[in-house]
């Protein structure tokens, strides 16, 4: 047990020593892995931001329920009660015809139109948020609400819901592609680095074997090296993603300002960041494991 511990300590020291002895080379390797990792990690961060943005539009997965112009206050109250009782309805909001006119007037380009109107032509309305945003559920709900008394017209914003679903699907595909690239890229980099490490240490490996080193003893520093390299690459990738997002935010700021929004691209949180680094280390270990399995036995 003490020997076992000592051997592992030696292997870590050896791997760390090799990384530190060639600072420039180690930095380069980390940079290579980092750049490769930044692709999916950055993509992931952007996707997370995209999803956050689209979630703001998620309330648009809604129904607009217009009352007849001749509908009374009692009609409106009855409809409100009916909506409250429906399990499929998340929230409802009553928009009076006066409020509607006011918001129309505030819409850029329509002020003149509204000014030209003699009287308010708009009806009272309910904005209904459904619990289930799927296009099918919205359509079914709309069909039922259309039958209520006093309702002139139900408009389903399911086009938006359909768009959201498509965006989410696109995002999922992209995440899948990126995750696959993440894994393959990092494993490939480590596999290759360890292959070259083994080649450059061929002499040492041969000699160590001849004088009684076990394969486990020989392989151990490579495992540690691969894992450490993965971790270093993960850290570099984080830095690249961070810098990239910061740079993009310069542009996003102007864009958001023009919309009067304070939106900024969010940086990955501590949990995401540390799981990126941990995952990179794990993949580094896997790459070195595969590489050692393949290449160590090639050295007689």
């Amino acid at each position: 047990m003490r020997t076992w511990l000592r051997h592992h300590r030696q292997a870590v020291a050896l791997a760390l020593g090799k990384l530190l002895a060639q600072k420039a080379a180690a930095l380069l390797n980390a940079l290579v892995i980092g750049v490769a990792l930044a692709l999916p990690a950055g993509g992931y961060a952007l996707l997370a931001n995209l999803l956050a943005v689209t979630q703001r539009f998620a309330p648009e997965a809604q129904l607009s329920l217009f009352l007849r112009t001749e509908a009374t206050k009692a009609d409106a109250d009855a409809i409100a009660d009916r909506l409250k009782a429906d399990a499929r309805v998340a929230t409802t909001r009553f928009v009076s015809r006066d409020a509607a006119l006011k918001s129309l007037r505030a819409t850029e380009g329509l002020a003149e139109v509204v000014a030209a109107l003699g009287k308010n032509p708009l009806p009272d309305a309910f904005v209904v948020h459904a619990r289930d945003p799927s296009p099918e559920a919205l359509d079914a709900l709309a069909r039922d609400l259309r039958g209520l008394g006093g309702v002139a017209h139900v408009q389903v914003d399911s086009a938006w819901a359909r768009r959201l679903a498509a965006i989410a699907a696109t995002g999922r595909i992209a995440t899948g592609v990126l995750a696959a690239l993440l894994a393959v890229g990092l494993i490939a980099v480590t596999f290759n680095t360890i292959r070259l490490q083994i080649l450059t240490h061929a002499e040492e490996i041969t000699v160590s074997r001849l004088i009684g080193a076990t394969d486990g003893y020989i392989a151990r520093p490579f495992y540690y090296f691969g894992s450490l390299q993965g971790v270093a690459g993960g850290v570099v990738a984080l830095a690249i993603v961070w810098l990239g997002l910061a740079a993009l935010n310069l542009g996003v700021q102007d864009l958001a300002d023009s919309f009067g929004s304070t939106f900024r691209l969010a940086f990955p949180g501590a949990a995401d960041a540390s799981s990126l680094v941990g995952f990179a280390g794990l993949l580094g270990w896997l790459g070195s494991y595969l590489s050692v399995s393949v290449h160590l036995r090639k050295i007689s």
């Binding site: 020997t3 051997h7 030696q10 002499e203 040492e204 041969t206 000699v207 160590s208 074997r209 001849l210 004088i211 009684g212 080193a213 076990t214 394969d215 003893y217």
Partner: protein
């Protein structure tokens, strides 16, 4: 200790390098393998740590049939042998000290004991004081002595040396042989291959004479 019986060796696609070699070396014996270039001396020596496996016959080391050992068992066989290779196999990206200390890394010594042994081995071959040099900074003969120091650092019961004096002048060679003789004195079994007939003239010890892969009586 070491026993060859009916050993033959044919490299892939090559001719028969060893044929029907049989001999037994008892514990504590001192023996030379002698023969011309290409006679098969190195091949014979490589069968003992199972660097090569015999094509026929059996090689016993400490009662183990080393030709039939599993790959995973080889390290434990080799740790009990002290090997000097004809091409020395030093690590030129490590210091002299690290080269000698290499076999101690996978044995079970405390760091203090390891250092003591490494320095003692270097002292024995006259390289104490050159620990921090790189092997390329040593002369050919000094490199050969470094290889010997590495072989003995673990105090093995069997020493197998392939041309350990090839790069040495007669006087230095004699000094090296004295080192092997000293190990022999304390009970180590020693087997040395050499092409140098003059070296063994008048020396105690058995002589195994190889010619074209066959042992001459």
């Amino acid at each position: 200790m070491i026993s060859f019986s009916g050993v033959g060796k044919r490299y892939r696609g090559g001719h028969e390098v060893l044929a029907d070699v049989s001999f037994t070396l008892d514990a504590g014996e001192f023996a030379f393998v002698i023969g011309r270039s290409g006679a098969g001396k190195s091949t014979l020596l490589k069968l003992i740590p199972a660097i090569e496996r015999p094509s026929s016959g059996t090689v016993l080391v400490n009662g183990q049939n080393v030709g039939a050992l599993r790959r995973a068992a080889l390290p434990y066989l080799r740790r009990n042998l002290g090997l000097v290779f004809q091409d020395q196999k030093l690590l030129y990206d490590r210091s002299v000290y690290d080269n000698v200390a290499l076999p101690l890394a996978f044995s079970d010594h405390s760091p203090r004991e390891a250092e003591r042994r490494a320095r003692a081995a270097l002292d024995k071959v006259g390289l104490l004081g050159r620990e921090r040099a790189n092997p390329v900074q040593l002369s050919g003969g000094e490199q050969q002595r470094l290889a010997i120091a590495r072989a003995v650092v673990n105090r093995p019961a069997i020493l197998v040396a392939d041309e350990p004096t090839a790069n040495l002048d007669a006087e230095s060679a004699r000094a090296i042989l004295e080192i092997f003789a000293a190990f022999h004195q304390v009970g180590v079994t020693v087997l040395i291959a050499t092409h140098d007939e003059a070296l063994i003239a008048g020396r105690a010890g058995r002589t195994l004479r190889l010619s074209n892969g066959r042992l001459l009586a």
